[in-house]
């Protein structure tokens, strides 16, 4: 059993060593240009031993784009079952490995990663995730959230931001996009009192990789929510993905933090820096104005009222998070 103190001190190899490693996700997959899903998958799997890892995937962009029969971009063992059940699927595999280890058919438990998008986690996969976290299977669930069902053409999910226009929450002349705030999935995961829960971002890739390694080192389930800017769905130029992710951190719309044992909240470096110097926090307008999904907040006329509401919601969450972090 790894202690929480040990977990806090987990280190990953230096960048110069990691860069020499062969990627577990090969180039030549069919993700869109500028898609950060590939970045997330490559970073997450790079901190595993390729000989001792298995990857399970929910239906979604990354699944369909990396494994079109008879091709695969995965250099590590990989399995896809269905949309809403990657947590249950990984549970079964984990149980099987456990039985094999006990019977001497497998030397040791592998690292197990389950990937799913926000649709497959916030919405249709929530029950399966909750069940697996409660049962305590030893695997890491990585939800990469692009805030909509991008694979099927940008439909609203429980992770879609307020006022974002999607194809099922379009910005009309009466209703300005999605009317609800996103679900607090991180708190839901933490409420299961698992040892490790975190948020991460491709704009802080080393932080993300360290978090994945920590999550893998936990003897039991761990959960990471990763921001996944989507040029196609969010409507921004494909070369700006990482900058958009950075804006998510800088505006505190997507703060980076860890939760140990379901109760100890710790801000990660980039968000900690903002907490220490609040003047560094960017107004949410900076985030919204660069993305076409919020275009209706600026044209034909600027909706200061809606932008102010969005800002208030971000502020409220950010203030509450700082309180949880004892700041």
């Amino acid at each position: 059993m790894v202690s929480t103190e040990e977990l806090k001190n987990v280190k990953i190899p230096k960048a110069k060593d990691l860069i020499r490693e062969k990627n577990r996700l090969a180039p030549g997959h069919r993700l869109c240009p500028g898609c950060t899903a590939g970045t997330i998958a490559r970073c997450a799997t790079l901190v595993t031993d390729p000989e001792n890892v298995t990857v399970f995937h929910a239906t979604g962009c990354m699944e369909v784009a990396t494994t079109i029969y008879p091709f695969t971009a995965w250099r590590v063992p990989w399995f896809h079952n269905a949309f809403e059940n990657v947590a249950a699927t990984a549970s079964g595999a984990e149980a099987a490995y456990r039985a094999m280890v006990r019977k001497g058919k497998l030397e040791k438990m592998p690292d197990i990663i389950a990937f799913a998008g926000d649709g497959g986690t916030y919405d249709i996969g929530l029950q399966s995730l909750s069940g697996a976290l409660e049962r305590g299977h030893d695997f890491v669930y990585i939800c990469y959230t692009n805030g909509a069902y991008m694979n099927t053409g940008i439909q609203r999910s429980g992770g879609t931001p307020m006022y974002a226009a999607t194809t099922t929450s379009p910005a009309g002349s009466v209703i300005p996009g999605k009317m609800q705030w996103r679900k607090d999935l991180v708190a839901i995961a933490a409420a299961h009192k698992v040892q490790y829960v975190a948020t991460a971002s491709p704009a802080a890739h080393r932080d993300m990789m360290t978090k994945v390694r920590k999550a893998l080192d936990v003897d039991g389930p761990a959960f990471i929510l990763v921001d996944m800017p989507c040029p196609r769905g969010w409507r921004f130029p494909e070369e700006l993905s990482v900058q958009v992710a950075q804006q998510g951190i800088d505006t505190c719309y997507f703060p980076l933090y860890e939760i140990y044992d379901g109760r100890e909240y710790v801000l990660s470096a980039k968000s900690k820096a903002i907490a220490n110097k609040p003047e560094r926090k960017l107004p949410i307008e900076e985030y919204l104005k660069g993305q076409g999904r919020f275009r209706h907040l600026f044209k034909p006329q600027k909706r200061d009222d809606l932008i102010a509401q969005f800002q208030a919601a971000v502020d409220q969450e950010w203030d509450y998070l700082q309180k949880l972090c004892n700041l």
């Binding site: 390729p50 000989e51 001792n52 890892v53 298995t54 399970f56 995937h57 699944e63 369909v64 494994t67 079109i68 029969y69 008879p70 695969t72 995965w74 250099r75 590590v76 063992p77 990989w78 399995f79 896809h80 079952n81 269905a82 809403e84 059940n85 947590a87 249950a88 699927t89 990984a90 549970s91 079964g92 595999a93 984990e94 149980a95 099987a96 490995y97 456990r98 039985a99 094999m100 006990r102 019977k103 497998l106 592998p110 029950q127 399966s128 909750s130 069940g131 409660e134 049962r135």
Partner: protein, 398 residues
């Protein structure tokens, strides 16, 4: 504490559910992932006892739904593990999506189905519809007439499903309450038998560390058909494998099963055809009618998928008329599941009986001797009819 029956011995009193749990314990699978539902509960409860008492080394995953049960079974089975589960009715319906994936992934998961009527209205009693509606999922599907047969079919299912050229999941039914909860003397088998009859599962491309295989890929119109056709080939292989497995089992145990069991068919002019526990009662009725000089027999269809069309046609070659008794429903179709398949199977044969359909025992309603006799009378009455006779619901409240 549950009585240990993983050891060989004399006949032991067991309910159908206990029999299945005991058989699973003798097999000692790597993983069982299951969710409780009446009338299957005794299977998972009883198996939990075996786990708690260390009589099996199975990883028992007590999931939060049947959808997750089948999903976890799939996740476990892709590693090469031997996997078992059990469900019924709404539970099987909730699994429906994943049943297709289990079959397409060619995973020999074994599932006991404590056959129960589907909601609505909600009803917990025996009916086979929960399993017959799975006919197009790609699973091998069998039924049992008794607790002993359910017990034996547990072993048979693993052997058939894990045969490399088959590599398909297998479900087998036992009628809710009539078999699941009724006590019966069952001849147990032991782990030495399993060692000889059921060697370790061998999987060609397992999802295990160090084996960089991708499975469960997206297949578009350029390849999807070929993948699905391989499933059809696997079913065809199962038609050949199943009789061999039944024969091998019979040689060791003395209990002989067939895809289609013929009962008193010698010289039969008419016959009953049915599946599951109804077959037991039908045998009693056939005996009674035979003693009264009637030339009647029975066919019990054990294997619903693959459907034994040739065997049925052969068995009914010299029969003039049959009454098919279905304990399952389909609406707006040419008829219930067994009736429709049987009729379609016979169509191409020159020597074939007339087929009359009856629905009985729905939602666990008793089917008594008089009702079987009524079916027999109706078959005699309709024999020679020159146009289709509508399906008749037996025992229906007027």
């Amino acid at each position: 504490m549950t009585k240990t029956t993983t050891k060989p011995g004399k006949r032991i009193g067991m309910t159908g559910d206990e029999a299945v749990a005991n058989a699973a314990a003798v097999i000692n699978p790597d993983v069982v992932a299951a969710y409780p539902i009446t009338p299957q509960t005794i299977i998972v409860e009883h198996f939990s006892d075996f786990v708690a008492n260390g009589e099996v080394d199975t990883e028992y995953v007590c999931v939060e739904s049947e959808h997750s049960a089948m999903s976890a079974c799939v996740g476990a089975s892709v590693t090469g593990a031997r996997v078992f589960t059990a469900s019924a009715s709404q539970g099987v319906a909730l699994m429906y999506e994943i049943l297709f994936i289990a079959a397409a992934s060619r995973l020999p998961i074994v599932m006991a189905v404590a056959n129960r009527a589907l909601s609505g209205p909600i009803n917990i009693h025996g009916e086979l519809t929960d399993q017959t509606v799975c006919r197009d999922t790609g699973w091998i599907s069998m039924f049992s007439e008794s607790a002993q047969e359910a017990y034996d079919t547990t072993f048979l299912s693993f052997k058939i499903g894990e045969t490399p050229e088959v590599s398909l999941p297998v479900m087998f039914g036992l009628d809710g309450f009539i078999l699941t909860h009724a006590l019966e003397g069952v001849h147990p088998l032991d782990r030495d038998f399993v060692k000889a009859f059921l060697p370790d599962r061998v999987m060609k491309y397992p999802t295990i560390p160090g084996n960089p295989v991708s499975s469960g890929l997206l297949a578009l119109p350029d390849y999807y058909m070929e993948v699905k056709y391989q499933q059809e080939l696997a079913m065809t292989a199962a038609r050949k494998v199943m009789p061999k497995v039944f024969k091998e089992f019979g040689e060791i145990t003395g209990r002989n099963y067939k895809m289609v069991e013929e009962y008193k068919m010698d010289g039969a002019e008419t016959a009953f055809v049915t599946m599951g526990a109804l077959a037991g009662s039908t045998k009693y009725v056939v005996d009674k009618l035979r003693s009264e000089g009637q030339k009647v027999g029975m066919l019990k269809v054990k294997t619903f998928r693959p459907f034994p069309d040739e065997e049925i046609a052969k068995a009914l070659k010299n029969v003039e008329a049959v009454g098919v008794i279905d304990r399952d429903l389909t609406f707006g179709s040419p008829g219930p599941a067994l009736y429709s398949d049987l009729k379609a199977s016979l169509y191409d044969y020159k020597d074939r009986p007339q087929v009359f359909g009856f629905v009985a025992g729905i939602g666990g309603r008793d089917v008594d001797v008089k009702e079987y006799e009524y079916v027999y009378k109706q078959v005699l009455k309709h024999k020679g009819a020159e146009k289709a006779v509508p399906i008749e619901w037996i025992g229906l409240r007027k």
